[in-house]
């Protein structure tokens, strides 16, 4: 079984990321018991640029998750024009 999972955006951009990273989103984690777990591919109803930003965030979160205590974490920059949209998608993915 692969350690990676492919996220597919509505406009067919594909992001191959570590399962462990994807699992930060409880929604993405839950898919694993279903068809998506079998195919290793998760179709998501969002544009590529949004998904890209989300994947960035997931890796950022994954990288610094142990640093939370020290507070020694660089800021994560969000493109202003995507902010609102990202907020909605984050809620959807339960990030």
């Amino acid at each position: 079984m692969s350690n990676y999972v492919t996220l597919v955006s509505a406009d067919n951009h594909k992001f191959i990321i570590l399962k462990e990273v994807a699992s930060i989103s409880s929604m993405l984690r839950s898919t694993q018991g279903f068809e998506e777990g079998k195919t290793g591919k998760i179709n998501l109803d969002m544009d590529g640029d949004i998904l890209e930003c989300i994947v960035d965030y997931l890796y950022y979160h994954f990288k610094y998750k142990d640093e939370a205590v020290t507070g020694n974490i660089p800021e994560f920059n969000i493109p202003t024009h995507l902010a609102l949209e990202l907020l909605v998608k984050a809620d959807y993915l339960d990030i």
Partner: protein, 940 residues
Amino acid sequence: MLPPGSRRSKIRPPRNSLLSSFVGGSASSSSGSSSTANAGAEDYEKSWAILSSAIIQIQNKNVSNLSYEQLYRKAYILVLRKQGSRLYENVTQLIVKHLLERREALLAKLSKESGGEFLKTLLSEWTEHLQSMKFISDVLMYLNRVYVKERKKLLIYDLGIQLYKENLIKYNNNEVGEKLIDIIIEEVTKSRLGEVITTKMYIVKVINMMELLEETSPSSSSMISEVDLGGSEGENYYQRFFEPRFLASSETFFYQLSHQFMSENISGSAYLHEISQFIKDEEENRARYYLPMSTFPKLIDLMNNILIKDKIDEVILLPMDRQGLSFWMEGVVRGVFESQNNPAPTSTNSTRAIESFANVKELAILYELVGRIDSERELLKVRLKELVISQGQSLPTLVREKLENNSDELGVGNNSKKTPAFSYSSTSFAIEWINTISEYQEQLSTISRIAFNNDPGVVQAITVAIRDFINNSTSTNNKKSGKNSPLTASASELLSIFMDNYIKQFTKQSPSKSSSINEEFSIDQVINRSITFLRFIKDKDTFEAHYANHFAKRFLNTKAQSSLTTTTTSAAALKSNNKSDRHSTSIDLEELILSKLMEEMGSSSLEKVMKMNRDIKSSRDLTNDWKRHIKSNDVQYSSSNLVELELKICNVTDWPKSMTKDYKKYSDDNTGGTSGFPWPKQLRGTLSEFEDYWLTGKKNDNKSLHWSPKFGSMDLRITYPSPMKTYEINLSTYAGIIMLLFAPQSTDNITGELVSAFSEMRELKYEEIRELTKIPEQDLKRQLQSIAVAPRSRLLVKVPMTKEVNEGDIFKLNEKFKSPTIKVKVLTVSATSSSSKRPTVANVGGEGLPLRKTEAQEEAEEVAANIVEGRNVEINAAIVRIMKSRQTLNHNDLISELIRQLQNRFLPSTIQIKQRIEDLIEKEYLKRDSVEKSKYHYVA
């Protein structure tokens, strides 16, 4: 977005934007809220149809064909459109429906399957349900996150568990649940009856399941928080339904078990083994295995109460044939006597011996079991104490029986054998009794070590019990057996006799004829035994008094330390080398024991003995000085034919009165003159020489010297004519003096030398002897019996040859005296056998006949008086001591303080204390308070 770790303060997106972003694509383009509601209603049906079929798919385990993303989005949108409550309800209904179907299927299986299989089926049902609930919960995650949270409903997963309980387990009056409980209890019972059950794992899992089924008011608002806490607060199905029934059935089972055991009349040992095994199984293999921690102690309590607490006392008190405590401990007593028969048990096999005698295993189990119901084990202590006391009280009788048996055997077998005859006397009884108790106590302590884990409480109880019977058995026994029992003496007296006997034996010990007892016990062992025994004695002052008495007697009477050794007449050869050796060992032994005793009792308590000991030492010095004196003045004395003298000078006040009271009677230099003792002329010179020596140098100016022929011994060397043989005879001073009467008096006319005593062959009448020696009648008869009647030391021939010595009897030297050894020791016949009050004397030659006559009584009285006097002095001293430091004290406080101070030595009676207080008031050490009568003041 925020950095990870600060998720709590997450920003929630505005609802409108959520709706627009998702619904926009799929639903109508109008963004008005009213139209979305309408569209939502239509949409709901569509979405629910998909979701519900998906849920059914999940329940049928077809998860992998469903697209999570799509289902999740459906539920997500429904929640966003405020359809959450509808969705929640629909899901609930769907699950209920599914569960009811499953229940039917289960019931159908129940009729076909055995209990164990049913458990298995049910468990797989449960795990499947949990699995499907997990997937459903995943799909409805957004519902959980938003709707459930807002309305404080049960999370979908927990809802599933609740529904499972309500609709599957408890549906129709707890039908399935009751079945489950029945099956489990049945299985447990089987296991308790010793069957091997295969369902253990299932039972564990079913019980786990039951614990997950929350019982406290489902769907209440408090539910969620309780779920969050892991259900530790709320009651669950297990606690409400299973536990009470399980405990009830266990209780019945335990009762039946214990009743069954008791009614089957099984032995106490069997009960212990069975119960202990059962408890172990129950605890390790059953209760700990599948019961939750909360139930475990309840069950164990139940078990302990029913199987142990209710029964154990009954079991302990079972009579011998049913094997109760008395049976388990009986071996101890038996062991004591049997191990004595096998001489010299080494420490390792004595432990093994105990294991074979006493039922150590049962005792250990008993200890274990009693410990389960009471960590202090009070019951065990009480019963053990009772038993030890009753065993201890039976010891004197057993000892007596043993002694009687032994003396029977010896009597039949070999009369002349030199083993100490176990006659019915106080001495052999004391030795046997104390050895027995020591042995008994050692066995008990071994048992405590093996079986009772050296529990200090239990050891203490045993110690108290031993002390109790040692101090009381003698008196109670006397009352019971009114006859002339050997136990007229108190424990302290017996101990003193015991020590006296061994000290004598060790002192006497010479390599050639060490008796069997000496091989068994080393000096250390005897001392240790004595000290241990001493610890059990309450009235230590009584022991001191007796010990002092024996000490004095040892010193004055034994040959090795002879008080007035005179070697006399014909051949004045000496054998002092040999003697002084033994002498020093005996002194060392006494000193060793004294120091041990002082360690135990404190240095002040043996004052009297210490003083006597000082006398002994100074006597030894004096003897040496005297010898040196003679040597240095050899020329001056050579003509006077001095006799070797070994001296014992005793301060009259420090020695027992019964011995010293008539010391003046014999002094030949006394003013009275009439009572003067006619020392034989052979000795007279030496005595007066010594007196002169003693009075020179002014060191003894303030003292007067009296000779006591009553004590001590002398060595005589007699050469018999046919066959020519010389014997060295050691006999008491009195006997020696008598013998000297037969020494040659006349000189041969031709040679001018002394005529041989055997050619002179004097004959003396009893009256003549009495007149010549002035020995008191009682003693005279005894001495004459010793040298004229006793078979092994018949130095004189008596006419007529009767055992009794009577007036008119005639004595002369026995020419045919023979002895296998050159050295002969004349043993003085004890007072009883010579006394005319007892006409039949069974065993004249024996050394151990009971001392029951006047002299002994006198002595006993004196010892008793000494004890009372000593106590008075001690109480007085203690009162003064206390009052001096306190100045003023209440009567009651004074008494309690007194008892506290004195209890180590003896327990003063209240009457005695009151008398003492009165005495001290009279002597103006104290005075009563003028107002408060119960108050005393110290008068400085």
